[in-house]
Symmetry: C2
Subunit: 187 residues, 2 copies
């Protein structure tokens, strides 16, 4: 699928979407992170919790995504990453990503984002320098792809909240989950 | 301002908005409520906490609303309620409300919503029949109007999650906050 096709697909999808302003999402997400900061003392535990919450969201969002886009299965991981970057992130976060830094066997790449509405109103104090504020996104991607039979690792390697010039999410395919169809007639 | 004018205003505002799909908002909000259910034992405390969280969000959202709509001050509470119903809710929740059931002195009314994206994936178990799941919205309205010098009570009286045929939010003006301008020259 060429870039133009993603744009065309987006225009179709966009008409079918219930749209809201991103600010309520940003602020609600900020409220969630603040609540976790109150509940959990360790930043590592908060990062893990955000990722897990995202995973549970991703499992459900993927149905919405498939229903709205009418997309069939991607033919390879490269295409999957492009669809996440050009349609998935655009649909749910209102922003797209570039896909770069592929490894040789095309099982890992980076998604580069120059905007992230989750962090619109956010500044991290030095005491939270280890907080992976937007980790929910990594969880969402992992949950969604697992529903599509792809087990991935997904984590931030660059973060504008920490002074980097973009957000970089590393996406690594670790396993293609094979579904076993058991034919009852034969057993 | 007539209904047509709200529609025109909406069309202008809509072009200036960063839009996201409402599902990520619904699911992130659900995650927040779930976290509060884990943290707080009493449903009353959760309802109060959601309202307070909404209040803090409303204080900030109102700036966004004023910037995007270029609206001046409303001339009366009746107009304020219409703007909340036709523009505010539409901008941040993607849905509008009817304004009805005015009392005689036009200081309280009901906002009737037939849709509420926050509850898109939600069913309340009987044990949570007292949970005011969408109470964040009431807090947002209270916080936003307080920034505009109107102190209000705001609470749900009907809720589709509890089997009602619509959502009804009661909105009561309790005080117009008068700002005192102190002229330093004169003191």
């Amino acid at each position: 699928m060429s870039k133009d096709k993603y744009q065309k697909q987006w225009e179709l999808v966009s008409q079918r979407m219930e749209k809201v302003n991103s600010e309520l999402l940003s602020l609600t997400y900020g409220t969630l992170v603040t609540q976790l900061l109150k509940d959990l003392e360790q930043v590592d535990a908060i990062n893990a919790q955000l990722e897990k919450m995202g995973y549970n969201i991703g499992i459900r969002l993927v149905d919405e995504f498939l229903a709205k886009t009418n997309m069939g299965a991607c033919t390879c991981f490269r295409q999957t990453a492009e669809v996440v970057a050009k349609l998935g992130l655009r649909m749910f976060l209102g922003t797209t990503a570039e896909v770069t830094n592929w490894d040789q066997d095309e099982t890992s790449c980076s998604l580069i984002l120059h905007e992230n509405p989750l962090t619109d109103f956010v500044e991290l104090p030095p005491s939270l320098s280890q907080l992976c504020y937007s980790n929910l996104i990594c969880g969402v991607i992992r949950g969604a792809l697992e529903q599509l039979q792809m087990r991935v690792n997904c984590y931030f390697v660059r973060d504008m909240l920490k002074g980097d010039d973009c957000y970089e999410i590393r996406l690594e395919l670790t396993e293609l989950i094979r579904e076993e169809f058991i034919d009852d007639e034969e057993n």
